[in-house]
């Protein structure tokens, strides 16, 4: 997928002025956060499950080569095939070859972030194959020809008005005067249109939430049932998954499933959790005749054994973005690539390069809510800090920021000078603010004061207050 991550600041500026982004923020806050809280409160074992889930993934990543070999052997034993793909290009070609061999003209698709990552839809179209997204949110954004703005709610940035416009212009064979305003109207219309696509498709492509080394199974977790219709009706089922999706056993899957839905949508359990192992068996009444797994690396092996390894524990629940004040303010599109929010700020530099994605790990207030809610306990703020350090080491940080950091470091290493300077700066800023206590403009701080006033320091410095408190404690 193409990226606009290098222009994150411009994207964010536009998003802040966009009423749609503000409205979707309301949906996210009212929906996801409260529902997750309620589900977590109902399960006393939740924190213990988070620890167990983290440990499972740590163990798996430490033995990733061995579990993938075991997984592959089980897929082959069940009659499936595994296509190892180092890059997005390898994955696209592997999918194309399978589609060509099947004589496919139309492929239905369940929701897959890996498909977004490798830009599969545009590629298939360029090869004369029609990809049809069947998850309702993905279908809507495919009609609008735009990327998802959230990893589990791809159309969360849209209101009924935009969706109505997309449906009316694309479904122009339906009566123009039909009612199209209630959620049920949209759901029913999409259901009718996609039903025929499910039946007609030659190939069905799904993602995978997990791959199981014990059994060679791939797992999808969904609510609509579109993923299941995508994979049980066509004669070929292609699973596209990345290396880190593998877990050792069914028992391990159970642990992670218990934290996944609760963290994502606040459900006790998603409606459909489907385990697929190979193609149709002799005697089976239905199911695909071929089963292929596209196993994608695309930068993940480089994250192993380094300071970003823990990000490979991610199960793509979206809790970090649901709780992120920066994501709330700018929405998912501003991040400019496939994965938005805090996890996107960590993954995007790893996948497309820090020189293109340097703004993302800087777009954080380090409030820590993402880490506090991450079911896999990924230390997201720490990783964003690692990226900032790399950016600085590679001299990608803008000159003014480097100069400012250098100046701060000069003072910070000289405590007496630092205290003297802050003791002067406070009153000076207070004087500049006059009686208002706020500054409308401040040299070198335009990025702040263009959008809001800068609060002037009100009293003594932290160090002064701390020193007095410590003194007061003395017996």
């Amino acid at each position: 997928m193409d990226t606009t991550s290098p222009s994150f600041k411009e994207n964010a500026r536009k998003a802040l002025a966009d009423p749609l982004v503000a409205r979707s923020r309301g949906h996210i806050k009212a929906g996801f956060i409260a529902k997750r809280r309620k589900a977590v409160d109902r399960l006393p074992e939740f924190e213990a499950l988070r620890d167990a889930a983290r440990d499972i993934k740590n163990h798996t990543l430490a033995h990733l080569d061995l579990y993938l070999e075991r997984y592959e052997a089980q897929v082959l034993a069940a009659g499936g095939r595994v296509h190892w793909c180092p890059t997005a290009e390898h994955a696209r070609q592997a999918v194309l070859e399978i589609c060509r061999a099947a004589g496919a003209r139309t492929v239905t698709k369940g929701k897959s972030m890996i498909s977004e990552e490798i830009g599969l839809n545009d590629f298939l179209e360029s090869q004369g194959i029609v990809p049809v997204e069947t998850d309702l949110g993905e279908y809507i954004i495919q009609l609008r020809n735009e990327p998802p703005s959230h990893i589990i709610a791809p159309a969360v940035h849209l209101t009924r008005t935009e969706i109505e416009a997309a449906f009316r212009s694309h479904h122009d064979h339906l009566p123009a005067e039909r009612p199209l305003s209630e959620p049920a109207d949209f759901v029913n219309e999409a259901r009718e249109i996609l039903r025929q696509k499910f039946v007609d498709a030659d190939v069905g492509i799904t993602g995978a939430n997990f791959l199981v080394a014990e059994t060679g199974s791939s797992i999808i977790v969904t609510n609509e049932g579109n993923g299941d219709l995508t994979q049980c009706l066509p004669k070929v089922h292609i699973v596209i998954a990345s290396l880190e999706k593998v877990v050792p056993t069914l028992d391990d899957v159970n642990v992670i499933l218990r934290v996944l839905a609760r963290s994502a949508t606040g459900q006790e359990c998603s409606t459909y959790t489907t385990f697929s192992t190979g193609p149709r068996r002799p005697g089976d009444a239905d199911g695909p005749e071929q089963y292929h797994v596209i196993l994608l690396d695309n930068g993940r092996s480089n994250m192993l054994g380094g300071e970003f390894q823990e990000a490979l524990r991610c199960i793509r629940c979206g809790a970090c973005m649901n709780h992120c004040p920066v994501y709330h303010a700018v929405g998912g599109h501003a991040y400019g690539w496939v994965y938005p929010g805090p996890i996107g700020a960590v993954l995007t530099p790893a996948f497309i390069g820090i020189e293109k994605a340097a703004h993302l790990p800087n777009a954080s207030s380090f409030c820590g809510r993402c880490e506090a809610v991450c079911p896999m306990r990924i230390p997201l703020p720490k990783m964003m800090r690692h990226w900032r350090e790399r950016e600085f080491e590679r001299h990608l940080t803008p000159r003014a920021a480097r100069w400012g950091l250098g100046l701060w470091a000069f003072f910070a290493r000289r405590p007496r000078l630092y205290h003297a300077a802050t003791a002067l700066a406070g009153p000076a800023l207070r004087a500049m603010a006059g009686g208002r206590g706020r500054l409308r403009r401040l040299p070198l701080a335009g990025a702040w004061t263009d959008h809001r006033d800068f609060p002037a320091p009100e009293g003594r410095t932290f160090h002064q207050i701390w020193a007095e408190r410590q003194k007061g404690r003395q017996p």
Partner: protein, 234 residues
């Protein structure tokens, strides 16, 4: 494109390099042990009660996600219960059965007004009736397995999915249901294979993709009706 195999070798070599994998480092043994003896994680206490409590929890959790649960005294009472449910929902008296002798052998003659057929789902079938391998009380979830007697399409294509579940097949947690399946299929370590498809189904199909408003009947069934046969404890 490289020859098949070389991509695999390239990726595995990269992983081994990053992990400093060496022969005799104990990694292979750790993996073999974990697969041979799968370890359970924390199990929610909510499903730990006896048979009656498990059944009650299953019913409560299933109803919470908009599944309908109908208690039937015996398998022989299923055809009448199906007819009654379809009537109460104003649905056509027409049902597509999974080709499972436990279902096709029931006294369907007692319902002469109902059109009964069997096989995988066709796009026009309005109602399906399947078995269920297990019920999981923890979240009110059904476990269904594919095979000659269990076409997967029946679980997803019709607007109404009805499933027969024996009370004795209700487990407290997911782990117990999977262990039952491992016994039936043979555990993976003994060369057993899962059925092509295992479906965990919790309520009817739904979406929240339109302004975060929950809407039932997205692509899969609009209704899920569980016919719970009270056959006593296992």
């Amino acid at each position: 494109m490289n020859a098949p195999g070389s991509n695999r070798d390239e990726i595995l070599a990269a992983l081994r390099g990053r992990l400093h994998r060496q022969d005799g480092d104990g990694g292979a043994e750790a993996v073999a042990t974990r697969i041979a003896k799968p370890a359970r994680g924390p199990i929610p206490a909510r499903g730990a009660g006896g048979h009656e409590a498990r059944v009650a929890l299953f019913v409560a959790m299933a109803e919470e996600v908009a599944a309908r649960v109908v208690r039937v005294p015996s398998p022989e009472a299923v055809p009448e219960a199906v007819a009654d449910y379809l009537k109460s929902e104003n649905l056509p008296a027409e049902v597509r059965l999974a080709p499972d002798p436990g279902l096709t052998g029931l006294p369907w003659d007692s319902q002469p007004l109902m059109a009964v057929s069997e096989g995988p789902a066709r796009p026009t079938d309005p109602v399906s009736l399947t078995g269920a391998f297990a019920g999981i009380a923890e979240t009110g979830t059904l476990m269904l397995t594919s095979g000659a007697a269990g076409p997967t399409t029946l679980n997803f294509l019709p607007e109404t999915h009805m499933a027969v579940l024996k009370a004795s097949d209700i487990t407290g947690c997911y782990e117990d249901a999977w262990d039952r399946l491992r016994v039936v299929q043979g555990a993976a370590r003994d060369g057993g294979t899962l059925p092509r498809t295992v479906n965990l189904i919790t309520g009817p199909s739904r979406t929240a993709d339109i302004e975060q408003t929950i809407q039932l009947g997205a692509h899969g069934p609009r209704r899920l009706c569980i016919l719970l046969v009270d056959d006593g404890e296992a």
